[in-house]
């Protein structure tokens, strides 16, 4: 078991990748075998993630050097800087790993029946697993260049998945926009990595952070990295691709795309907290993030309320929810250098934001799956054509309501637990932020009441008389997420202590991250 945990960080990535390449071979022989293989592999990966997270949170940061004589041999004899590809898993990485594992498993189970009739399923699952592997790699790597590579893996497979249904013109357009935006963002990230490499001849995040001097070139690199990651995570005003892509992707893919956005948010945090950390002028960078977050909240929710396409509406709501995270983390960044303020409210704001990340993945994932279920049965995403679906899809409507209430921050669901942490802590930083946050939450409720009113309530139309509940695997996938929402809402203290607090500690504690790589060597 201890050997398994010692190797788990690479096994998580490698098993996912190997399954991705086995999928076409097995799929030619038998569909059933392929589906079983994928589910088993992802369940094994989820188990590894949980074991790894438990180990990281109980003991110490987990370092894995690929190809070395020992996993923790980051600086071999004769060298003074880390060489080879190094994976580094701290509390935040493990937390993100848990989010990715849950959502990809749910998405696969949902797709198994939602896409049963589509062609090209071998390719679909290969891409899905590649995307999961890319996201695992993004959050586990300790190396800036690997971050870029895994980001590209995630975005290329994501674009192919968005454009998977080739018969629709708009899904082709969505895939095109996603790949163009991703390509520009990641090329600029590579440019910034080049700027950093030109000064320090290093690519490892921990080693770079140890030698960071915050010169002029570092500032330019910081700005480019920050705006590129904000572009990838969809913060206003760089969010416009998000509604175009999430709304056209097949059934379960938006849930994965949300997690991909969160992985970009993770990269933003890694950059600003760990890579730059204490050298950075925190209040300016923090305020830039806060302003982006505020804009995301406000523009996201006001655009969402206008939409008549159900997935597009939820996509705009995603923009709004990521605004909450950005505000919480921005407040944390702004007071990073001030231990008093950090203790008083900074840590709590970051706790709330990190907690909101997993909650966001759960409830927005559920909402997208419900929207996918509606599309599966009636073949349209247009709210104008929906009415009275609650008569025949009772369970789906209840699940939708659950996700909607969680998103609007209604107790006792998980959205409330994280939002109250953000409200209360941000209030001590600047009361106006909290007021805007509460206003946005109220508008979010209005947004979802619009959907609930026009899709599920009302007279049962003759043309939708024959609509039935979706097949069981889809319902099961939705219920897993719903159970998560209720559990996280009823026991927020447990979740905070187990997985959120270690993640926040990892963010604040830059020295531990550096020490895990550099060891005793200065």
């Amino acid at each position: 078991m201890s050997t398994l945990i010692a190797h788990s960080s690479i096994l998580i990535i490698a098993v996912t990748l190997a399954t991705a390449f086995l999928t076409p071979l097995v799929g030619i022989a038998s569909k059933r075998a392929r589906n079983t293989l994928i589910v088993l592999a992802l369940a094994f990966v989820a188990f590894l993630v949980v074991a790894l997270a438990r180990d990281v949170m109980l003991n110490q940061i987990h370092v894995y050097t690929l190809g070395a004589a020992a996993p923790d041999l980051t600086i071999p004899g004769g060298a003074i800087v880390p060489v080879r590809i190094i994976l580094e898993v701290d509390g935040l990485s493990a937390f993100m790993g848990i989010v990715i594992a849950i959502v990809s498993l749910v998405a696969v189970i949902y797709s198994m029946s939602a896409l049963k009739t589509e062609t090209g399923q071998n390719g679909f699952y290969t891409l899905l697993l590649l995307m999961a592997a890319g996201m695992f790699g993004m959050v586990f790597t300790g190396d800036l260049f690997n971050l870029f590579v895994f980001l590209e893996i995630t975005s290329i497979s994501g674009a192919a998945l968005i454009a998977f249904r080739t018969k629709f013109a708009d899904s082709q357009e969505g895939g095109f926009k996603y790949i163009v935006v991703s390509a520009v963002a990641s090329l600029m990230i590579l440019f910034a990595i080049g700027l950093l490499y030109s000064q320090y001849n290093l690519l490892n995040i921990g080693a770079l952070a140890a030698t960071m001097e915050y010169t002029m070139l570092d500032r330019i690199a910081l700005v480019i990295l920050m705006s590129a990651f904000v572009m990838k995570l969809g913060g206003v005003p760089l969010h416009m691709w998000l509604s175009d892509t999430y709304s056209v992707a097949p059934a379960s893919i938006p849930a994965l795309l949300i997690v991909a956005s969160q992985a970009s948010l993770y990269a933003l945090l890694r950059t600003s907290f760990t890579l730059y950390g204490v050298t950075l002028d925190q209040s300016v960078a923090g305020w830039i993030i806060i302003i982006v977050g505020l804009l995301s909240m406000f523009v996201g929710v006001t655009m969402a309320i206008l939409q008549t396409d159900i997935t597009r509406l939820i996509a705009y709501n995603c923009v709004c929810e990521s605004g909450f995270m950005l505000v919480g983390l921005g407040v944390g960044l702004a007071v990073l250098a001030d231990p008093g303020a950090l203790d008083a409210f900074g840590t709590m704001a970051m706790n709330g934001a990190v907690f909101h990340m997993i909650n966001h993945a759960l409830f927005e994932g559920l909402l997208f799956l419900v929207a996918g279920a509606i599309f599966y049965r009636i073949g349209t995403r247009d709210l104008n054509q929906m009415c009275g679906l609650g008569h025949t899809m009772k369970l789906t409507s209840v699940l939708f309501l659950l996700g909607a209430l969680a998103s609007a921050g209604i107790p006792p669901f998980n959205g409330f637990a994280s939002k109250i942490l953000i409200y209360e802590s941000v209030y001590q930083f600047n009361p106006i932020l909290t007021m805007i946050g509460i206003l946005v939450s109220i508008l979010t409720l209005a947004v979802f009441m619009k959907v609930f009113f026009s899709a599920f309530t009302g007279a049962s139309l003759p043309r939708y008389r024959d609509v039935r509940e979706v097949p069981r695997p889809m319902v099961a996938a939705m219920i897993v997420l719903a159970a998560g929402i209720i559990f996280f809402g009823l026991f927020p203290g447990l979740v905070l202590d187990w997985i959120v607090q270690p993640a926040t500690d990892a963010l604040v504690n830059q020295g531990a991250y550096i020490d895990a790589i550099m060891g005793a060597v200065p």
């Binding site: 190797h7 490698a14 990748l17 190997a18 690929l66 190809g67 004589a69 062609t119």
Partner: protein
């Protein structure tokens, strides 16, 4: 294309493949490697497509076969990486054993191909994947521009 072009292309493809394999196998001692060699072989596929037309090539260069080769290449790479997991993932477990010519000296050395341990084999895996993948891409684009869809 004319008969001359087709005949020349058919003869030339052998040399293209041999050169590609050379670049793949020598990848760890000279500039080159799996991607470059695979791309060279895939350029041979481009040559065939240009010479004989995508319709004719399609009859034997099938998407499904390419996909099998591609997946096997990637699997070969990952399995070799897994094989080192007794020490560390990606550990070069073959290098240094007597069968593989011992550990080469640091600095200038004759550059014997077999001293690389698993690296030439991994290059081969990458080469297979890139060859199949790029050929599939080129073939797909050629068929697309002719107004066709790929077979499932």
């Amino acid at each position: 294309m004319s008969k001359i072009v087709r005949t020349v292309a058919n003869q030339l493809i052998l040399f293209v493949v041999i050169f590609g394999l050379y670049v793949i196998i020598q990848g760890h001692v000279t500039p080159g490697g799996g991607f470059q060699g695979g791309a060279i072989i895939a350029s041979g596929a481009v040559l065939l497509i240009v010479a004989s037309g995508s319709q004719e090539i399609k009859t034997w260069l099938r998407e499904r076969r390419l996909s099998v080769v591609e997946s096997s290449g990637a699997l070969l790479f990952i399995l070799l990486a897994f094989a080192g997991i007794g020490t560390v993932f990606f550990f070069n477990f073959l290098v240094g054993s007597r069968l593989f010519g011992g550990i080469p000296s640091v600095g200038p050395n004759p550059g014997d191909v077999w001293t690389g341990g698993v690296i030439p084999l991994m290059n081969l895996g990458v080469g297979l994947k890139v060859m199949a993948g790029l050929s599939a891409v080129v073939l797909a684009l050629a068929l697309f521009s002719g107004g066709e869809e790929l077979e499932e």
